[in-house]
């Protein structure tokens, strides 16, 4: 057995053990949340006793409905063990109507502290300044980025962009207004860069491109860019690396959201046509690439399928949530010996027009 195979087996065993521990936590009256305890009562089986490995989750739980996060009161998700501790409320969606909300305490810090260890100090110098240009507001991302910077001894400037407004403008074909809003955001970012020393940037691909159109990022002192939020296909990634970052600024793509945490990418470049593969922060979260028509089944390696997320932390349990993304399933990697998701794009992107926005 190769080292990688052995590591894959060990990671699977670790995931199974973690799964059992987290499920027991959420489905035990002493520690669990009202939502899941009530769910188990109605389901007529006890996950705390019947889940013995991760595969059991796939076999025994239905898909998590994210509407529950919109329709149910927040406190219903609080594990009993967290009683008395105020929680943070993080939102996703909400372009129209009520957003979905996830509560949390420390989860994001764990993911981002771990992620910090993967960053190169040359591109993300310690004890300096970061700037985030992108959706802040009620999103977990804003606190996460600040925490990541803080872990590295850095402080962060913020320029906000409201993606709900951008999506509404685009859906209403108000492209001029969307462009004007983006210019407004970029104006603020340029002002910060002209007046403050910043070495690391977190932003979205489109905003990065727009910022680079306005100023020379290398001359502005940017050494590393941490980038995510919208689709980056191979050509676009290559363009960002070669032309926007001029092969000099470290480019770190990321895939993450309020429900999962932060996935890390494995090395990419001309040698693999800039195909980005992300690996979830397993065992706290598990990404699977499944057959959209038979979601219990994984697709073959190097085939497209729908992304399914399971989150397994003591703060939040979310089994088998079908993301609105599709991706190519990739095999494990030495630093993340479990499946990865590659070339992520909106689910059905090849069949229909998706409003992703200019942000």
């Amino acid at each position: 057995m190769s080292n990688l195979d052995q590591n894959i087996q060990e990671a699977k065993a670790q995931l199974d053990a973690h799964t059992v521990e987290v499920v027991k936590w959420h489905f035990s009256p002493d520690t669990g949340s009202p939502f899941w305890l009530d769910w188990a009562n109605k389901a007529g089986w006890n996950p705390a006793e019947e889940i013995s490995c991760f595969d059991d989750i796939i076999n025994k739980f239905p898909h998590f409905q994210d509407e529950w996060l919109r329709d149910m009161p927040n406190e219903i998700w609080r594990p009993k063990a967290y009683e008395g501790k105020p929680f943070s409320i993080f939102e996703t969606g909400g372009t129209t109507g009520m957003p979905k909300q996830r509560i949390g305490w420390e989860d994001y810090k764990i993911d981002y502290s771990e992620f910090s260890e993967t960053l190169n100090d040359n591109h993300f110098p310690r004890d300096h300044y970061w700037m985030m240009v992108g959706p802040t507001g009620p999103r977990r991302l804003r606190l996460s980025i600040e925490h990541l910077a803080n872990v590295r001894g850095c402080s962060t400037y913020f320029v906000d962009l409201d993606p709900r407004w951008v999506k509404r403008l685009i859906a209403g074909k108000q492209f001029d207004q969307a462009r004007a809003y983006m210019d407004h955001v970029i104006d603020q970012a340029v002002t910060i860069l002209k007046n403050r020393k910043v070495s690391a940037l977190f932003t979205t691909p489109k905003l990065l491109e727009a910022l680079a159109d306005r100023m020379d990022l290398i001359k502005a002192g940017i050494k590393g860019v941490f980038c995510g939020g919208t689709t980056m296909d191979k050509q676009y990634t290559r363009f960002l690396v070669e032309e926007v970052c001029e092969n000099q600024i470290g480019f770190v793509p990321t895939y993450g959201n309020t429900l999962m945490g932060l996935a890390r990418h494995r090395p990419f470049g001309p040698e693999n046509d800039y195909s980005i593969t992300y690996h979830a922060p397993q065992p706290r979260a598990v990404l699977r690439v499944v057959d959209p028509k038979k979601t219990e089944n994984l697709v073959e390696y190097d085939s497209w399928g729908r992304v399914e997320l399971t989150t397994l932390t003591k703060e939040f349990f979310m089994p088998r949530f079908l993301e609105r993304d599709e991706a190519i399933r990739r095999s494990g990697w030495e630093k993340c010996p479990w499946d990865g998701v590659a070339e992520v794009r909106p689910f059905g992107a090849m069949e229909k027009k998706i409003v992703e926005g200019v942000y």
Partner: protein
């Protein structure tokens, strides 16, 4: 020949994108080429250094560029040009065969389009003379000079000419050719099924000695197309009304949409209508009925039903033959869904009272036919009692025309805008009325096919006046 890959050209430099699309045979679906697709950011980045392209052209005189254009015309018509990124060459015959197989145009129509383009390139001096109304070429080089007894001075309105091209007919590329002689680089998004003609033209220009920087060629998405249109300074867009409407009030963007070209017969000539049936039928159906200068309506004071029947008798029997047939009259649809949509739209509107399809009885079958895997629409002539009918003033990508009755005195009021009007009349008063109408871009007085283009008579906008403005100038005498 191996399947070539057509790269994007970034100020003339080939760039192979990681995103590629197939251009396929319209009948078999076999891939004839792969084409690089670039993200809009590439276009925006390159436009930041577009001055380099203009500077490269400015090293030449207009006369030299006219000469280079003529050489390019010969190469385009008769020479071998590089087509693929790996050095694959393309002969004229390969161009004809490949373009035919992806666009649906029969070989004979591709050849006719080639000849038109060749004519434009080898007669650029004549074209420029028409566009500039006789300005001496050295004045264009200097930007200032004396002509017609007065000082004249011109300055460029843009750094480049943006082009969002269609796939329907190769000869539309002749519209941008004067830009090169006018020292304006082009930035083009080609039609999805028709990268062949612009790419062959560009390679012919480069082979003839034109600086490669003058040519940027970006198969790209909607966002990239919008950037080409909005960021070049001046641009042309081809497309249907729904595509072009958003640019309708932008003077920097010239719209080439439907032509709604027409043939009018005056009351003085209507008794001679039989003499003109061949001319009218050719105006409707030449080039497969795909051009904006194809007549899509015939307006007559009387005998409408008889004229429609005569046209139907002539055009109705047209049917698809092989692409190689020198007598081929119809083009296939690169996108079969387009053919299906047009067929359905005509059928749906025929249900409305006040019209009759005259071709049906001469056609021995359905309008839409599939032959050797290709989708075709056979000619359709519809008699309409008035312009109120929805089929009276329509244009489709196939041989289609309505024949509408209207009193001569009402024709101009009712017919709407037209790219070309051929007026068959000797009535001086009617001619005067037509001459003063703002609704007509090109007017043919007398029995001239709407398809006939005079290169010294710009229609659809004057490229020189689009790319240059006249400036008032004062120069102190030495």
């Amino acid at each position: 020949m191996a399947i070539p890959h057509i790269p994007c050209l970034r100020l003339g430099d080939p760039y192979v994108s990681l995103n590629k699309i197939d251009v396929a045979d319209y009948r078999s679906g076999a891939t004839k080429a792969t084409v690089s697709q670039v993200n809009a950011g590439v276009v925006r980045r390159d436009l930041q250094r577009i001055d380099e392209a203009r500077d490269a052209l400015r090293k030449f005189t207009t006369a030299e560029l006219v000469e280079i254009g003529a050489k390019a015309g010969e190469i385009f018509l008769n020479g071998e040009v590089q087509i693929g990124v790996d050095g694959e060459m393309q002969s004229p015959q390969q161009y004809i065969e490949t373009l035919s197989s992806t666009s649906g145009l029969p070989h004979i129509m591709v050849k006719r389009n080639m000849v038109k383009i060749h004519y434009a390139l080898t007669n650029m001096q004549l074209v420029l003379n028409g566009l500039t109304r006789g300005i001496d070429l050295p004045i264009l080089d200097a930007g200032v000079g004396e002509q017609f007894g007065t000082q004249v001075c011109f300055y460029p309105t843009s750094k480049a000419l943006g082009l969002v091209m269609p796939s329907n007919s190769p000869a539309v590329n002749s519209l941008w050719l004067p830009a090169i002689a006018l020292k304006t680089p082009i930035v083009m998004k080609p039609g999805r099924e028709e990268p062949w003609t612009p790419y062959r033209l560009i390679q012919a220009f480069i082979q003839a000695g034109c600086p490669k920087e003058a040519f940027s060629f970006y198969p790209t998405d909607y966002e990239g197309a919008a950037d080409i249109l909005n960021r070049c300074g001046r641009a042309l867009i081809f497309g249907d009304k729904s595509t072009t409407d958003q640019y309708a009030n932008n003077p920097a963007i010239q719209i080439h949409g439907p032509g709604w070209s027409k043939i009018l017969i005056g009351e003085d000539e209507i008794e001679n209508w039989r003499d003109h049936i061949d001319l009218i039928a050719g105006s409707i159906a030449d080039n497969g009925g795909r051009s904006c200068v194809n007549a899509s309506a015939v307006v007559v004071p009387k005998y409408g039903r008889e004229i429609a029947d005569a046209l139907a008798q002539k055009l109705g029997p047209f049917k698809p033959t092989s692409a190689e047939d020198p007598e081929a009259k119809l083009s296939g649809f690169a996108n079969p869904k387009m053919g299906e949509w047009i067929d359905g739209a005509i059928d749906s509107d025929l249900l409305e009272a006040g019209c009759e399809e005259m071709t049906a009885k001469y056609r021995d079958g359905e309008r839409k036919v599939i032959t050797d895997g290709g989708t075709y629409l056979r000619p359709t002539i519809v008699y309409c009692e008035s312009f109120d009918h929805p089929l009276a003033n329509r244009e489709f990508l196939c041989p289609y025309a309505s024949v509408v009755e209207a009193p001569q005195s009402e024709m101009l009021n009712q017919m709407g805008e037209s790219l070309v009007v051929t007026a068959i009349t000797k009535d001086k008063a009617f001619q005067a009325e037509l001459l003063s109408s703002p609704l007509i871009e090109r007017l043919n007085l007398g029995p001239i096919s709407t398809m006939k283009i005079s290169w010294d008579q710009p229609h659809e906008g004057n490229m020189f006046e689009f790319l240059y403005k006249r400036r008032s100038i004062g120069i102190l005498a030495a």
